[in-house]
Structure formats: C-alpha cells, structure tokens
Amino acid sequence: MSATAWLTQFLEVLAALALAPLFLGWVNACRAWLQNRRAPSLLLPYHGIRKLFHKDAVIATNASPLFRLAPYVVFGAMVAAAAVIPSMGTGLPFRTAADAIALVGMLAIARVFMSLAAMDIGTAFGSLGARREMMVGFLAEPALLMVIFVASLISATTALPLISERLAAQALVLYPSLAFTAVAFTMVLLAENARLPVDNPATHLELTMIHEAMLLEYSARHLALMEWAAALKLFNYACIGFALFVPWGVSIGDTAVSALALSIPALALKLAVAGVWLAAIETVSAKLRVFRAPEFMATAFMFAVLGLLVHLLLGA
C-alpha cells in the first residue's frame, strides 16, 4: 500500500467526520428554502453537537452499562463504515478487510445497539422506537444488500471501492437494473435515516417518531455522539449512493495526489446536488402512517429484487 492510499483513507474518514454535520445542515437549509421558510444556519448541527458536549450528562437511575456503551459503539460503527465507502478514492487499504456485506453488517451493529439501548431504560417511548426502528431495518437492510448485489453482479466483486472503480471505468451506459435499484436505494436512504415519508426529523410528536423516540433518554456527550452518528449515517448513505450510481470523479486506485485533490470538489458538488434532491423529495412527500411504512419498505425491497431479476434476464 502506498502512502497515497493511506492518505486517501485518512482524508476520507476525516472528511466524513467533518462534513457529515454540514451535509445535514445543507439538507435542512434546502428544505427550508423549498418550503419558503428562512433557513437555519448551515452550521447549526455543529453548534448543537458542541453545545451537547459541554453539558453535564444525566443518565436514568436504572440504566445499565450497555446504555453508556451504546453511543460509542454506534459512533464507532459509523466511522468504520465510512472507512470502506469510496467517497474520494477507491484505493482504500481497508477495502480488503470489509466488503459491502460487512459494510451492511456495520450499519446493522449500529442499529442493533441503538435499539438495545433504547429498550434499556424501560420507557414506553424507548421500546416503541426500538420496535419501529427494527421494523424499518429488517426490510431496509436486505433491500440495501440487494441493491449492492446488483452492482456487484455487474462488476463481479463485493468490495464497494472495486464496484465503484469498475462501474466508473465503463462507458456511460444506462443499466436498466441499476435504474430499478436507484429507486430502491433512494427509498432505503429515506427510511434508514429517519427522513420523510417514514419518519419526520423535525418532529417531537411522540406517536409519529422512530429515531427521536430512541434517543429520548440520552443527554450531553452521549446524545452528541448519537446525533453525530446520525449525521454520519446520512453522509455514509449518500456516499454509498455516489459509489453505486455516480462513481465518477473519485481518484481510481493508487493514483497521484493531484487526482485526490480533484476528487474533493467532485464530492462537494455531489453532496450539494444530493442535498437539494433529498430536500425536494421530502418537500413533496407527506409522512406515512407508521403501518404504511412497511409497505413503503417492501416496495423498496421489491424494486431491488426486480433490479436483480432484470439484470439476470437482460445481462445488464
């Protein structure tokens, strides 16, 4: 492994950590503009995280050590996941250690620990949130896997950076199967990141929420880590999407530092467009009743399976 590869790896994780709250702020700002509201500062998520870190932590009397461990595990899993997603370069040293299936596994670690922590205090909201999170998750996870599998069948590998590399190397052709999976992926992204139409990130109305319900008992640094991990998750999902559907503009393999320098504005551009697009989807969709959410997710899963079938039928 060359020094560039390690530099790419290091920069990628750093970029994920640093840019994730900004991306979240950007999506929220775009949403506000589209809804004719005055947008909050782009830096608001940073302020929120900083403020939380400076507070005294309050923990429920009956919390077990698992409750205090979970924010660190969730955060750690998200950072580790960021390390295998080729957001800037594909020559990542970590890519042999964890392929796309392991990536989905790391996202699952975060989900399981967050749900367990939510059940730890034994409040009605916590267990309700955990149940709903797992309900969304058990359909979203296989859908995401199927989306990745279609791309990995096209490129004959399950390592995400290699998938991205091989897809980028081909001429600009429209794979019908990838079109199906792009729809599925968008739906999974919305559901897994607690966005509309499955969950509403702006609400604290108890009966409609999933993600927020699980975090109700957290405060201060634990909450800050959870919030940061949520921002990282959105960032990670966006970058998975880029790797699969717009794999251009990243530095391929072990190239020079100049290619890496070029990939930074490319990533910024993709994130900016993705933020507008996400905000647009959220603006035009209404929150689903919680029991319509499985139908939404099942549709995503079916789209992904259909994409696989289309690939196998057409060979494209």
């Binding site: 870190f53 400076h54 005294d56 932590a57 309050v58 923990i59 429920a60 009956n62 077990s64 660190y72 595990v73 955060f75 750690g76 899993a77 950072v79 390390a83 970590f94 042999t96 250690a97 964890a98 392929d99 299936i101 392991a102 596994g105 790391m106 699952a108 670690i109 989900r111 399981v112 367990l116 059940m119 205090i121 034994g122 409040t123 009605a124 267990s127 955990a130 149940r131 709903r132 797992m134 309900m135 998750g137 058990f138 359909l139 996870e141 296989p142 199927m146 599998f149 069948l153 399950t158 108890e206 109700l216 201060a220 880590l225 029991f291 499985p294 899963f301 992904a304 696989l308 196998l312």
Partner: protein, 667 residues
C-alpha cells in the same frame, strides 16, 4: 500403541467413557454432589478430549475398524474420515460447554433423579458420537434410535406435567417417522447387493430413478430430525419441555447430526448427485428459513422463540446443502466446496450460539422460574454474567460482524451470488433470488434477537419477584464462558476453521476453498475473485475507534455523570407495564406477515366494563396438515380396533402369520 496412532480407537474409547460416566451415576442416583460436581465435569473433559482427538492430524486418510459388537455375522463397522471429524469436533467442543453448565444446573426434585438424568445425558452424547462414526446401516440405525430414545427421556424429564408428556410423544413420533424414511433409503442404497455396509453402498450402482428415490427419502428422514418445514412441528413443543442443557444439546448438536446424515448420504454414499436434487433442499431451506424466523418473531415463550430460531437456521443450512448439490451436479466444484464450507461452518457456529442462548434461558429460568417473556425484564442488573454472555450469543446469531454468525452468512451469500453462473436456463436466474430471502431472514433474525434480549435482560423488571433473581454460579458461568469464547474465536479465525473444513469438502466434492495463499487474518476463499473479509481488522478498527472516541471525549469533556429518574418526555409515573411486551414487539411482524399465521383475536370494544385483549398465534401447517392427518390415523386405528384383543395368544398368532407371509414372499 499410543492413542494418537489410532484416533478412531481413541474416539471409541472416549464414547465408551461417556457411557461409563453415565452408568456411574446409577451408583448413587440421588446424589447431586456425585453427579453434578464429579460426573458432568468429567463428561465435559471427555468432550474436550474428543474434539482434540478428532482435530488431531485432520488430513490423515480414513481409518476403518470392525467392532466385535452386534448380531452374529453382522459386526458393526466404524470409520473416521474428515466429514465425521468435523462433526465430532462440533459434538465434543459444544457439549463440553453444555456439560459444564449442566454440572451446576441439575438439582434434586426436578423430575428425573440426577443420576438417571446423567445416564440419559451421557448415553445421548455417546450415541450421537456413534452416529458420526458408524460405517454400516445397521450400526447407524442402532445409534440413531438410541439417540432418539435417550433424548426422548431427557425431554420428558419432568414427566409429571401432561404438556411435557405430549410434547415428548410428538417428538418421538416425528423421530420415528423420520427413522423409517432413513431405513427405507438405506434399503434402496444397498442396490440389490443385500450388503448394508456403507462401503457396499458406495460401490452399488443405482439407476437414476432409484438414486433419486433414495435421496428424497433420506432428505425426508433427516429433514424430520432437523425440522425443515413442514416437519418442524416437534421443535417448538419439545424445546420448552426439555431442561435447558438438553435443549441446548438437541438444538446445538443433535440437529446437526441430521445435516451430517444428508451430507453423508448425498455426497458419500450416493456419490454422484444429480444437479436438480439440490433444488429440493434449496427451496425447502429458503421456505424454512423465512417461516422459522417469522414465527420466532411473534413468540412469547423464550424457549419457543429459540426453537423457531433453530428452525430458521436449519433452513439456512439446507439452503447451503442444496446449493452445494446444484454446483456439484453441474461440475462447479470450487463453488460447491464454498457452499459446503458455509454449511459446515454454520453448523459449528449455530452449535455454539444456540447452546449459549439456550443455557442463558436456563439461567433465567432457574433464577426466576419464568419462561414467559412478558414476566421478565431488567435481568442484566441482577444477572450480569448471564446477561453479558448471552449478549455475545445474541449478537452472533443476529449475524453481526465480527462474530461467528456473520462469517457463515457471508460465505453463503457469496456462494449464492455466484449461482447465476450455473449453466442451466431459468435456474440461473432464480437461484440468485435466494440471496434476497437469506438477507431478509438474517435481518429478521436481528429483529428477533433484539426482542429476545431487550425484553428479557433490559428495561424494568416486569414482576416484583425478579428482584430476587440470582446470577449463575461457578460451573454454570464456566460453561457460558466456554461457549461465548467459542463464538468469538470462530468469528475471528475463519481461515483456520475453513482450512480444517476444507479437508471435509475435498472428501465430499474434491475441492476446497483457498486459504493457503493469504495471510492468516484475511478470508478470501475464491482465487481470482475479489471478495474478501477480515474480522480481526474489522474488530481492531471498531474497537480502536470506540476506544479513541471514548478517551478523547473523556479527556476533553470531563463533566460528571448525574443519575436521575428516567425522563420519558416528562411523564412522571413510569410503570413497568408501560414497556413493550413480547406481543407488542411482535406486532409489526404479525401485521406484515399476517398470511403466515392462523390468528385468533379477541378485541375489546370501547364500551366493555372489563376490556380484554387476547391474541393466539397458531401455525397454519399444524391445522392444515397435521390435524387432518391425525384424524385419518385415528379413524384407521378405530377401524382396526377389532384386531386388538388384548390376548397374548392373538398377538403371537399375528406374528406367526406375518413370518409365514414374509417367508412366502422371500422364497
């Protein structure tokens, strides 16, 4: 001659040792001190020794022996080859943990006397070992039936309770229906030579039709033991009835003897499977996996939940078996080896994870006397050892990296992803869709395990009596630790495990996944294909990030942690009844997979003075298949009731007539 010169003799001696340990319990059958403190730990040691002997010189050629046992002119044959070694290691290492736990678990006044229990338990172990070593149909069936009977008596240890007796009867019935099919399969396999040694069966030439019949019969027979749909009905009845260490052994080890049987018959005795055979176990396996996990999600009894989870895992195993047969049949031997390694690996993994979880429920059951999820909760505070060790099993079976459940899932998904290369039209398009079902089942397994662990160990105690729960004691703790360490080790060292399993796949399909060309920490089983995974690095990265985050946060923000009552959105009167129940947690699954269940619901109306909510989730297969079948058997028995005179002379006459008829047919 040292025992290492003949590992087969050493294995037989250890199996005999198990039988003797069991018999020694009869000296003082009611003494917990003798049975619990001496015999069970000795049994655990024997298990470790068995695993060690079986692992010693894995690649040595098959060793055979004739025993001076059995009927005149019908000696028993035994044989030790890589396939039986794999399952002997599974039996020895997994049972060691279970025996250690059992040493502290069985006590007086719970049904069968400890000494008798010890005898049945160790006979069960020895007979499972003998199943794996048997090299003729006769020895195999004797061991198979001993295994079924010993486990039947173990299941019905608390035979005073009518439900347990009927659960035991159902188990015995299914075991024998399966055994008949296996016997018939052996009858076909001998191919007119009337030689029942496995060597004769390997040599026998069968027509494709007869070979297919033998395969399907074996699949049915072993499937009944393993619990593939629709033959799964005994599992959710027998597991809650049995004492926890027995459930652990049955689920962890005994179900795997059925996998062993299928592999032995298909790849070794039949030798040349046709590719389409694989579609049957593949389709059944996928159906079983989905069915099992969906039912597990709606259970309210923790042992029934785990039993259905075993059904799911058996489905995953059969999927792998089917895939291996398809690949082998079309001549793709490396991929066939990959699928087989996934099967063998998952067998080992499931043995450790599921035993760990069943023993965890055993600890909870002893501490609280409750199996019902709705009356548990918050036990991680009272039982930290049991709780945290069970968490290892929960995370492993939920398929999370870097634990062991993920590795076999990863291998199976890789194998399924390559199934589009099978050179058969249509099939190559349908097979990859199996990835969707396996992925769905794995994600649902995580749902089930969050429900299981969250409701039993987390939250507030749902009953006041739970505050008196006690943690596991020394020997029980040792058993749990052994199994948890096994889960972690199997997860972190996949190359070592696959290297060993490769000897078995070479024996069965003539190929093995590639483990030699990589550093020990990197799993990349298919040469030339970019698919790799390294649990050690993954673990190091996650642990590294978690530790670094922890230290940084600690160093920069050293504000104190204050304890306060739960906030709960400002609601002050929090009550344990407000937590999600097991029914509540399963509700989304009941809603989404409504078609799977036969549900009876009693919903309250808003005007009821005393509102009642009741829901019973039943198994459609039970009502659609087993109840009509039972009715038919009952009617047939009624019609033949006139034969049952109750006089010995009448029965002797029947036997005489049967013999005469048989002789007439034979001559």
């Amino acid at each position: 001659m040292s025992p290492m010169d003949s590992p087969l003799a050493a294995c037989l001696a250890l199996l005999a040792g198990w039988a003797m340990i069991g018999a020694a319990g009869l000296l003082r059958p009611s003494s917990v001190a003798l049975v619990g403190r001496l015999l069970f730990p000795l049994g655990a040691l024997t298990g470790v020794a068995l695993a060690f002997v079986a692992a010693w010189q894995f690649d040595s050629p098959a060793e055979r022996m004739q025993l001076m046992l059995g009927l005149p002119d019908l000696p028993m044959h035994v044989r030790l080859d890589p396939l039986s070694r794999v399952f002997l290691i599974l039996l020895g290492s997994c049972s060691a943990g279970v025996s250690l736990f059992a040493a502290g678990y069985f006590r007086k006044g719970e049904g069968t006397a400890p000494g008798l229990m010890g005898l049945q338990y160790h006979l069960f172990l020895a007979s499972m070992g003998f199943v794996l070593l048997a090299d003729d149909a006769y020895a195999f069936m004797v061991a198979w039936e001993t295994m079924a009977l010993a486990s039947y008596f173990l299941v019905t240890a608390q035979h005073g309770i009518p439900e347990i007796r009927s659960a035991g009867f159902l188990y015995l019935l299914m075991a024998h229906v399966g055994a008949i099919a296996i016997l018939l399969s052996f009858g076909i396999l001998q191919g007119g030579t009337w030689q029942f040694t496995f060597d004769a069966m390997r040599a026998a030439e069968l027509s494709p039709a007869w070979a297919s019949a033998a395969f399907l019969l074996a699949l049915f027979g072993f499937g009944a033991k393993a619990g593939i749909v629709p033959l799964h009905v005994w599992l959710p009845e027998a597991h809650p009835a049995a004492p926890s260490p027995v459930s652990a052994l049955m689920s962890g080890v005994m179900l795997k003897t059925a996998i062993y049987g299928v592999l032995r018959v298909t790849f070794d005795l039949l030798g040349n499977p046709q590719w389409w055979w694989g579609l049957v176990p593949l389709a059944l396996g996928l159906a079983t996996a989905l069915f099992g996990v969906v039912f597990a999600a709606v259970q309210t009894d923790m042992k029934r939940l785990l039993a259905y989870s075993s059904v799911e895992n058996i489905g995953v195993l059969f999927t792998g078996v089917g895939l291996a047969i398809v690949f082998h049949g079309v001549g793709m031997h490396v991929l066939s080896a990959l699928a087989l390694v996934a099967v063998l690996y998952h067998s080992l993994n499931h043995a450790f994870m599921k035993s760990l979880l069943f023993l965890g429920t055993g600890a909870v059951l002893h501490a609280t006397g409750e199996r019902n999820l709705g009356r548990l909760g918050g036990l991680i505070h009272r039982m930290p050892w049991a709780g945290w060790l069970t968490l290892v099993g929960v995370l492993a079976i939920a398929g999370l990296p870097p634990l062991n459940g993920f590795v076999s899932e990863w291998l199976l998904l890789q194998a399924l992803l390559f199934s589009h290369e099978v050179p058969r039209p249509f099939v190559n398009m349908l097979l990859p869709l199996g990835t969707a079902i396996i992925a769905l089942a794995a994600a649902l397994a995580a749902y089930v395990m969050v429900k299981f662990f969250g409701i039993v160990f987390l939250g507030q105690p749902r009953e006041a009596t739970l505050s008196r729960a006690h943690d596991v004691d020394g020997l029980e703790k040792a058993g749990l630790v052994w199994l948890a360490v096994g889960c972690v080790a199997l997860g972190l060292l996949p190359n070592h495990v696959i290297g060993a399993l490769g000897h078995a796949t070479v024996q069965l399909v003539g190929a093995a996944p590639d483990t030699a060309n990589h550093p020990w920490w990197l799993l990349a089983p298919l040469p030339g294909r970019a698919a790799s995974y390294s649990p050690t690095i993954l673990l190091a990265v996650i642990v590294g990030v978690v530790t670094a985050t922890f230290l940084v946060v600690r160093a920069v923000y050293r504000r104190p942690v204050r304890r306060a009552p739960p906030w709960d959105c400002g609601f002050a009167r929090l009550d344990p009844r407000m937590q999600d129940t097991a029914e509540g947690f399963g509700q989304p699954i009941r809603h989404i997979f409504g078609g799977f269940f036969a549900m009876e619901r009693e919903l309250p109306s808003p005007l009821d003075a005393a509102p009642r909510y009741r829901v019973i989730v039943g198994d459609r297969i039970w009502r659609a298949l087993y109840l009509p079948l039972g009715g038919m058997v009952q009617r047939a028995a009624d019609a033949l009731a006139w034969m049952q005179q109750g006089r010995i002379s009448a029965y002797l006459t029947y036997s005489f007539i049967t013999l005469v008829v048989l002789l007439a047919v034979m001559l």
